[in-house]
Symmetry: D2
Subunit: 428 residues, 4 copies
């Protein structure tokens, strides 16, 4: 038996994931987590998309240990460091230039996604002189007040303590069903001088809404959204914090869509090692910041520079990794579709893109029961969605096919058990 | 010659400290920074108070490397981990219990000071049902919108892009001079139902204002402030992000004052190693969070747990370290007073507490010129204050007396040169 | 020639209607305005719906002169007065009780529609403990900051000087065309805990949007809206400031729809004489105001009490007046439809309800040119709508059939001339 | 016995003054109110400063009746009218030009003080491009959200339902006692870039705070405030809604102080007859409004134009009236000082300026008991102040010396009785 006394006594009741996974983890490698008692779990959560390259990837780990051993500078505010220079050079060479983003610059914000979003919104408002921002239903952008205003989640919004202002909410792609064109709706509202929607500085959008339930915008919708931004002179901010770093099969989630966001926020898997790190990428002309206007103590996390640069070199200098992600994504999706057809042909369906896929259940209770059952059998997996109704797979992109097979076998059994119970309950 | 081309091309113009220190740092140890070209600098900035135990402290470094080698879990959201358990146990045993804070709990917020402040303000508003917060002139609490509303700095506020609301600004201790009792003023405003100051949820205060210019509140003022909070049923939030972790000679900056803040925010030197980490400490009764109400991807940075626990064991299990800080603080202050008397008996004066001291100059241009001159001679040192007029010493608490001597000799010469030039300029 | 020197010298450039009607009016009677030079105009503007009973109605005028001659109290803040008592008794007997609103109470707000809206929104927020309000595209509720937040008009919003907060904008009936069910959209957004639309205190709606362009909600839409309010525990506020007092053919604009708003705001024609007057009508249970929580110097305008009571007695104690309004409304609509068919079968169409009707033109320039031409021929008429594209008839409800005929003959000619010019312009 | 059933049944519980004066008023003339039962009261409330020329002044009444009989236009939005022209001409000739305000223009806002304040704040923000406004402790500027943000009263603020933003609160003259220079305090805060007080668009100030408790700023303080505004490029808005129109012995309350506010708001006694009316007066250069940016249905109340012009002609074309006000003010003050010395030499003191004076009592209960006792003996008088502790005299400026004598005799007796009871209570 584990003993959680220390946590219950000293840690705030706000703790959350630990309630779904009541064990104490100690070690981790690749797609595997190990508890203090030696029990092993396959990780289909991966830090909510933070561990795209798995836990403690040996190449990255080696680079970090070497940096530590050489007394490489760890913390230096936003002073120049050799590690930062190497990251900049690598990111520019490996990511930006090949994808046509050579004329973009990088801001190192405080090392959290929320902070990158706060910086991006400030910049958009500064550059345009407007205060309103468009964000979408079911969007998630962080919990600090500026980012929270753009977030849809009512549980988080309810804890704000102050009204959340200067954001207009719009329906995401397909929010009102496949036959309702939400871009036209926005266009009408923005073209109407009496609609009550003040001219926005920017639109902030996730190409795939991770927390919102794996809602994936189509390439066509994204292209229309970009056009809408140009028409109404709004900046397009792609929040690629969860969907970026290869999760959808390409480095950026939007790169095959033929669009060019004005600003991109990245975090989560950017360090490659689970280390706090976040950046804002912006078109050169938008870099109208004055020195130090937005700051933060940890905006230069050199350990993250080291592992991030190593990850970029290792995974992104050719297209092997991307192809393997696409292949695994296909594999997982097919397996999930089989599960859905088998256990709920009318009630279960698969959502998402790349290796950011899941199965939507009739309600949150069922989804939660399935995750609980899976955990009991060795699989760490969580729900997402506005009603927590989606069983979400965010496993490391480096996971092996064997691990995928094992995990989905567990998941299959969990669906079988819970869906059967649900039918039994309905009958009684 | 250094070459900053990579930074100038790829990093946003928002970069700031690097403009004062135009070199590329590569390694660091203790109180010493080393550039890519092998040039050595004494560090009187220390990550703006983030490196109280110096760069790459060997004990902490060893613990971190060992953790890495054993594949200790790096990132696990807020799941239970052995490293977190050890941190909780150590912090409780070494810090909270001996100081009478046994009935306090810890929230792991996103790993930045701003995020800890955002969480603290949310909690205070939730618990009291009020939205107004009192913060002080020259206070600094971070740059995300919620924290920024409480921050005084106009440069940062000006970049908000939206009005900063739900905060009432009050004069800090001695803001209007030594003869004006700012506590009485607040009491009058808060007791007057028509003052226009809505009943606050909380007061957020730095015991020493680091960014604000090393303004140090007296024990008496802090005690009166605590009483004022009790009288008007406001929570007292001590923002100990910069002044905590031993900087003033005790772990908390307020612990010898006989007060008990309701909520304490900590970050910066908490990890001991410069790693992103932040916590909110609250009285048990105030822990009214529901699970997950405020969240963030990096709220469980296990590397920081490891180094933080090691630092607590190494520095805080007896009073040796605290005493040495007090002694060094005294030494630095005396040397600074000599400098002040020598180069500006009427215009320079020493400010601050413990090892958080500095010399106030007639204006920001002089202070800036002194820092520039010092840097040219091997000392990294920065200004603070509302007019950037204070030359601020925030060296590692672990600095040697020799290093102090060397640094202050450089500083003495810098003051000599710049103050002489200033007199010459005024004469001409 | 008129001479406007005094106005141009001493009155702010904000003056507006006088620019469309550059004459100086001196006297007025019924539906007729007379300038200082004796020129007569038919009034199809009627104080933007403030003069439903015409100018200086003899019965009301007599009552007011008599009150003045007897030194009836004019101003008494919200003290009890005989005139107020008579108004309350009359309004209750003649309006509220016969329409099933016996259990409603009246608040005398400051004597402007905006003030009534401010009071209604405050009350809804107080009673529900929520801050969000739903208002609609093209809605108009006033220009004070609280009311302006609910108003859609961008010209007015742009002059706010501060962000307008705590309002979520929703599409009005048929905003996205006749085939899009905007009630279902709202229901989806309000049922989704992650939509980002915070639970509203209330919905504020105009049954016919006067300023917004004579958009008329159907009875079915209004009934569904009422149901939506019940489902999501939002209060329903009917802003009947422009559409009320008989304008649509019944006293309240919604009374034949079978709905019961929780709160009703009234002003404009309420005094019957063009005197400043406004009230908030609320279900008894919602009257949770503490004495004096919302106040204002002129919230007891006794002159308005006198004329309002006289108007209620004269016009509303039987159904003759209502029937005549319905008949005239039908007449005007038919004439307008003829005009539309004649001069623009594909581009002109008639909008609105009762005696709140108009002709929608292809654009605001055409509509404006038509009004200008009509004015040159003796008709005061204005545009409304998000692009000022609707030529709006708001003539006194007491207008004679002869005056209607004369006015519409002028209008017919104006359409003929301007539409012909437009075709000529397009051809060239 | 009066019967208030109609009010209790049909009027909202928000009704306020009627609770202090539980009678039904019917007629009024000069300084006298008459109930439905024929009981007569002297009016020391005068519509909270709205009836400076008394009730139903015969000259004004005659002008209004004549206007009515001639079918003068009553309501015309902001169209040109002969009555408005006459008011503009008269106000300019009689008030503005002789006082050196020839280069000022007039905006007719909605006919309430709150609306004039809303317009003034919008204009100041528009002209300066800043959003922050400075207002003072105990200031009262109205209850609509924009004006309420500037108001100090907690009872009203508490009913806002939304946070009140974009206003910084400063201590009024002598707020912290006679020895504390509140102008210097403001200067320090505004000169300090890190004070947290964002650069204000304007300062809004009452020269005498009526609702705030008859706090009167000295000429010196006002002059320094004007200088402060020039130094920090803030506009100076004088809210002369209660203190203007002769109340202090001159038309504007500040005119003998040698200052020139940039913007002046007026209402209350402006019509002279208790009719709703409000204006914003602004320096020509500040009139940067676009047509119709701030509007309102009743912004052209022609009845008020008629009585206002008549009042200006009658009272302000020579200095007789002003002198008589000064003399009566002196008389009332002397009588009040006698009362204070007699019944509470250590606890009662006289406050205010001109005919806006009162006696400050130890607390609100005493002040309220005195007003109640006075009412029982035929005097309508109310309290003001942050604790409702000031018995306030706001009688008509046209009151006779005999009426003053009679009223103060009643007041004397009321003080005698209540103060004696208070002493008795304290002894027991």
């Amino acid at each position: 038996m584990n003993n959680f006394e220390q946590f219950e006594k000293n840690e705030s009741d706000i703790r959350s994931y630990c309630r779904s996974f009541p064990v104490i983890f100690n070690q981790a490698q690749g797609a595997e987590l190990v508890t203090t008692e030696g029990k092993r779990y396959i990780d289909f959560l991966a830090g909510a998309g933070t561990l795209n390259y798995g836990h403690n990837h040996p190449v990255l780990k080696k680079a970090l240990i070497q940096y530590l051993e050489e007394d490489g500078i760890t913390h230096g505010l936003d002073m120049y460091s050799a590690a930062k220079e190497r990251f900049l050079e690598t990111f520019n060479r490996v990511i930006l230039e090949p994808r046509g983003f050579a004329n973009y610059k990088i801001q190192f914000s405080g090392p959290t996604g929320a902070n990158a979003v706060e910086a991006a919104l400030k910049l958009a408002r500064k550059v345009t002189g407007r205060s309103n921002i468009i964000s979408f239903t079911n969007g998630f952008h962080g919990c600090t007040i500026g980012a929270l205003a753009a977030t849809g989640n009512g549980h988080h919004r309810g804890a704000a303590g102050v009204p959340l202002t200067d954001v207009s909410r719009m329906p995401y792609a397909n929010y009102f069903g496949d036959n309702v064109n939400t871009i036209s709706m926005m266009d009408k509202l923005l073209s109407d001088p009496s609609s009550g929607i003040d001219k926005p500085a920017a639109v902030i959008v996730e190409v795939v809404q991770g927390e919102g339930g794996l809602n994936a915008a189509s390439a066509e919708w994204m292209r229309k959204l970009e056009k809408l931004c140009r028409k109404h002179e709004m900046l397009l901010i792609a929040d690629d914090i969860q969907a970026g770093c290869g999760r959808t099969g390409t480095f950026f989630s939007f790169e095959e869509m033929g669009i060019k966001p004005d600003i991109i926020t990245m975090s989560k898997s950017l360090s490659g090692f689970g280390l706090p790190f976040a950046i804002v990428i912006m078109r050169n002309e938008l870099d109208q910041w004055e020195p130090g206007e937005h700051n933060g103590t940890f905006r230069g996390n050199n350990h993250a520079f080291v592992t991030a640069a190593a990850a970029l070199e290792h995974f992104w200098t050719n297209d092997e990794f991307a192809k393997s992600v696409q292949a695994k994504g296909k594999l997982i999706k097919e397996r999930m579709q089989k599960i859905a057809r088998k256990h709920g042909p009318d009630s279960l369906f698969v959502k998402g893109r790349g290796m950011m896929v899941g199965i939507s259940c009739p309600n949150g209770e069922i989804a939660s029961a399935i995750c609980k059952e899976a955990f009991a059998n060795g699989l760490v997996i969580e729900t997402s969605g506005n009603h927590s109704q989606v069983v979400k797979c965010l496993c490391p992109l480096t996971i092996t096919d064997e691990q995928i097979d094992k995990a989905l076998t567990i998941l299959d059994a969990a669906f079988a058990k819970v869906m059967a119970e649900d039918i039994a309950n309905q009958a009684s």
